[in-house]
């Protein structure tokens, strides 16, 4: 296996495996938020804003996987 194909496989693995966790995490965040909104519809506005913060923090991990993928590919 030459270096170029190893880099391609590495990038695919890094990004593909790296987004599993954040995917589950975002699902849990949104599930919790929807349940809370169902129980207390008046608080929807506050819950949605907090949900977006939670999603952003979780999604940041997926973005790190993407960055690592780019680093593997282009350095």
């Amino acid at each position: 296996m030459d270096l170029e194909s190893a880099k391609l496989i590495g990038m695919g693995l890094a990004v593909g495996l790296g987004v599993i966790g954040p995917g589950i995490g975002i699902g849990l965040v949104v599930a919790g938020a929807l349940e809370a909104m169902g129980r207390n519809p008046e608080a929807s506005g506050k819950i949605i804003t907090n949900m977006f913060i939670g999603i952003a923090f979780t999604e940041a991990l997926a973005i790190f996987a993407l960055v690592i993928g780019f680093i593997i590919k282009y350095t």
């Binding site: 608080a43 506005g45 506050k46 804003t49 913060i53 973005i63 790190f64």
Partner: protein
């Protein structure tokens, strides 16, 4: 590349001024800025105390996010200062994203020599597929957040959030907060870049496989993604500012009060 699709991570340069490459994403961003400025000029010129139909719609569109910013920050003075920035970032990102979906974008251009292969270089290309643009926006948001925190709390109190010697644990937590503050630059810029770039590649691949009809739902999805990403960029700037102007010690005492602050946003 004959027949295949060409995907470039870096934006393609249209022409050079001296040693500075003027890329097509930069031209797109400038065009969108120009259109927004012209729109703002004409929308702001005919403002009257008794609003007409056009002005009433504009006021409605501006008052909803303004109330959201005011309620979230809970500080009218800061809201007045920060709202123009947040709204500008939102409008600019939204316009750049939606401008990138217009038919003439990424299809009309000149044939140029790119990395030894002659290839079509479009005049316009979706602006957020350029990491330079998103990183610049992230830097603006980052400095806005830090400056809002420093001016609200004062430089000693604000830096005390990150560098404390009260206990070893507090010191470590402060260091982690400092790192997460800096990491925001990466997550801010790569979130917008990754979403729009992936969307562009997705539409290109779909167009290669099934050129007719099938790209339509994907373009509709891209319209939605463009709006969501613009909203998330602006909202995250807002929320991080809210975190920056809060002090940790007060969180426990104000926890009881926050129950009364739950205001439905759709009033």
């Amino acid at each position: 590349m004959d027949g295949g699709i060409s995907i470039h991570l870096a934006p393609l340069a249209l022409f050079h001024i001296g040693t500075i490459a003027i890329s097509n994403t930069f031209v797109t961003a400038l065009t969108v800025s120009f259109l927004l400025i012209v729109f703002a000029f004409f929308a702001g010129r005919g403002v009257t105390l008794k609003p007409g139909k056009f002005q009433a719609v504009l006021e409605l569109l501006i008052m909803y996010p303004y109330n959201l910013v005011r309620e979230t920050l809970g500080n009218d003075r800061l809201a007045e200062r920060l709202f123009p920035l947040i709204m500008t970032v939102f409008l600019f990102v939204l316009s750049v994203n939606w401008f990138g979906l217009l038919p003439f974008v990424a299809s009309i251009g000149i044939i140029e020599n790119v990395h030894g292969v002659s290839e079509l270089v479009p005049f316009f290309y979706p602006g957020a597929t350029d990491l330079n643009l998103t990183l610049a926006l992230a830097l603006v948001a980052f400095f806005a957040i830090e400056i809002a925190g420093i001016t609200t709390l004062g430089i000693l109190k604000y830096s005390g959030k990150f560098i404390t010697f009260k206990s070893p644990l507090a010191f470590m937590v402060g260091m982690i907060e400092l790192i997460s503050e800096l990491v925001r630059l990466i997550s801010f810029s790569f979130r917008l870049f990754g979403n729009i770039f992936a969307g562009k590649v997705l539409v290109l691949v779909i167009m290669l496989f099934v050129p007719y009809l099938l790209p339509v739902p994907f373009l509709a999805f891209e319209t939605f993604v463009g709006f969501i990403q613009a909203a998330i960029f602006a909202l995250l700037t807002l929320f991080f500012t809210k975190i920056a102007i809060e002090i940790h010690e007060e969180e426990h005492t104000s926890a009881g009060d926050s129950v009364h602050n739950i205001v439905p946003l759709t009033t």
